[in-house]
Symmetry: C2
Subunit: 381 residues, 2 copies
């Protein structure tokens, strides 16, 4: 597949450098490519904001801080890999789309942190907490917490707008961007639905396993993997059948990814995952682990679950008791097995595909990475 | 100017019906065109949401309710008028862009109402209040207010995504949409900056007249008038000089519009403007009226302003005293005169322009409408 290319001066075939790399090597390489691109964009946006008003700059600074605070750049890397796997060859142009996904993710986490009332992300203050402190430092009048939430809502909205601008201005032919926007717009709507279902699940007394998997599909699988792959494919001008392959690969892989994350969120090591390993239980997060434990448990244990899950003041002893129930009921084993099956399903689809080797290699490596992660996740006994 | 047109089956030259209409007649006509278009879009989105999950539908229903709750459809009408004035002739295609602006405005007011803690808009509950009640009706667990804000943030985000989708899928050539997106993306960012400056102004003890005008420029003038005009012009394939005309017309008119709104917000009749006429003073909104009164007042009156402005428990007698100070200092007269000057400035630009008569007529009529509004606004003595 040869790509008709609009701006030949940007044609630098660096994507082939990804060939033969392991998933972690590819991600490290990719971060080194995308980060300077993002920095340059932020420099420009800060110049623009300062021309509007010196006070406007803080919104951009906060978005930049959130982007810089870490993150695996996994969504943007998926878009990049799918672009290369679909025959795309413009390193610079696809970075625009990858950066757009990074900014859109930043929007999503800023609003998500307000909704979840989270104070920390990756060990750093969340946006509404940072703006709360900004209010205090500036000695503004009024309620600093209210100011923090207001400014964070706006910073999120601005990051959303930045994302749109980056994708709209990517140096691809306009028709190709228009095609990518179909998948991008679907992603944005589906993520809002998934997030809403997740919010509702926290306020409902009980939800079904089918509902948990639905949330995983919309909030994580489509958002983190399937749609970024589709966006990359669309920008490479890929054939319709490629999109089906990316769906058949991306959805199960994304579900597995989130199930693993939930296992780590309760059984992992705090220093490795960067957040406390009791918050999911304390917040009453309706993970597959919890839903399945409820389903498989006896009456006595159920009363423990009722007392501890969603109880923000639960003791470490009580949390540990819930962990034991998740193990003894077989819920942990069930979740871990399901995650492995989903990863293998994705791996099978990708292996059988005829995608270009450089991108395909990464997409397979990611499966292997997650299988190894599964093996080392927790002691399943 | 003849428009190269992509989908000839949609070419229905209904825009000429606008010719010779007064501003209010044009707006009434336009509402009858845009409303069925929006209803059809919402029907489709509700179908999609219900396929995701029955619980997802409420987000779309809430957006639909907010759009249906009234509003003058002024932004979308400006885009329409500029499109026609620039020689555009596809009624159906420009409705997509107009609908996009309506949805983006709905996003903006949903988030704005959260930020301002407003309970009512146009006499109806705001989105976070409606979701608060939804939580109570459904007998969900947890804090209904927190749920209301979370769901409203997400409904706003979803409306933002709908807006993008509508503009991206408008049946125009892709290159033309790409050009319109430059102005659309600028609008989104500038509105966030304007809104942020407005939020900051509420938390600062004092701001300057220049800052007030800056907020008017970004939060209202560019957002409500200039950028919608540019989007319409870009979709008609207008020449660069048209954009300058629309800026020279749109920015002063938008500033005047907001100054008038602020006068009405303190001196108008509650039943006419659909919100209470003491809230601006009680919330300490930094309007030109207030800033100028502070500037022109004596020490004794300043202590009254300090005590009443921003005091949520101020009595009607105290509010009336502030109104008297705004009058006696000449601040009301100053604001009213400035608004008229700005409208006449916009009118002069439009009169001298060589835009197509049908659209130009409406853009002139709007000036006349606002001048009449100014004349009847308040007793300036």
């Amino acid at each position: 597949m040869v790509e008709p290319f609009l701006y030949p001066e940007l044609y630098i075939d660096r994507s082939l450098e990804t060939s033969g790399k392991k998933a972690s090597e590819f991600l490290a390489w990719f971060k080194k490519e995308i980060e300077p691109f993002l920095e340059e964009y932020f420099d420009e946006k800060i110049r623009e904001a300062s021309e509007v008003h010196p006070e406007a700059v803080v919104l951009v600074e906060e978005i930049r801080r959130m982007v810089g605070a870490g993150g695996k750049k996994i969504r943007s890397a998926f878009a990049y890999a799918a672009y290369v796997a679909s025959g795309g060859r413009s390193h610079e142009a696809i970075l625009y789309a990858s950066a757009a996904l990074e900014l859109w993710h930043t929007f999503a986490i800023i609003h998500d942190d307000i909704i979840d009332e989270s104070n920390l992300r990756r060990g750093q203050p969340t946006a509404h907490i940072a703006f709360d402190k900004f209010h205090q430092n500036r000695n503004f009048s009024g309620d600093s917490q209210r100011f923090g939430i207001s400014a964070a809502i706006l910073a999120g909205d601005l990051a959303f707008s930045f994302a749109d601008e980056l994708l709209d201005s990517a140096p691809f032919p306009a028709e190709r961007i228009r095609r990518a926007k179909i998948y991008y717009n679907a992603m944005k709507q589906q993520t809002a639905y998934g997030e809403h279902l997740d919010v509702i699940s926290q306020f409902k007394k009980q939800i079904s396993e089918a509902d948990v998997l639905k949330i995983l599909e919309y909030k994580t699988a489509k958002y983190t993997i399937e749609r970024p792959l589709h966006i990359g494919a669309a920008l490479a001008g890929a054939d319709e059948k490629y999109f089906q392959i990316f769906s058949a690969y991306g959805v199960p892989l994304g579900q597995a990814f989130q199930i693993q994350d939930d296992i780590l969120g309760t059984f992992g090591k705090e220093e490795e995952i960067g957040k406390s390993v009791d918050s999911d239980i304390k917040e009453g997060k309706k993970t597959l682990l919890i839903i399945k434990a409820y389903e498989l448990t006896n009456l006595l244990e159920k009363s423990v679950l009722n007392k501890v899950v969603g109880n923000k003041k639960a003791s470490e002893g009580q949390i540990e008791k819930v962990r034991e129930i998740i193990k003894s009921t077989g819920s942990l084993k069930y979740s871990d097995t399901l995650a492995r099956e989903l990863i293998n399903q994705a791996r099978g689809v990708m292996t059988a595909s005829k995608l270009a080797e450089e991108g395909k290699n990464y997409l397979l490596q990611i499966c292997d990475f997650l299988l190894v992660r599964a093996a080392s996740l927790v002691d399943l006994r």
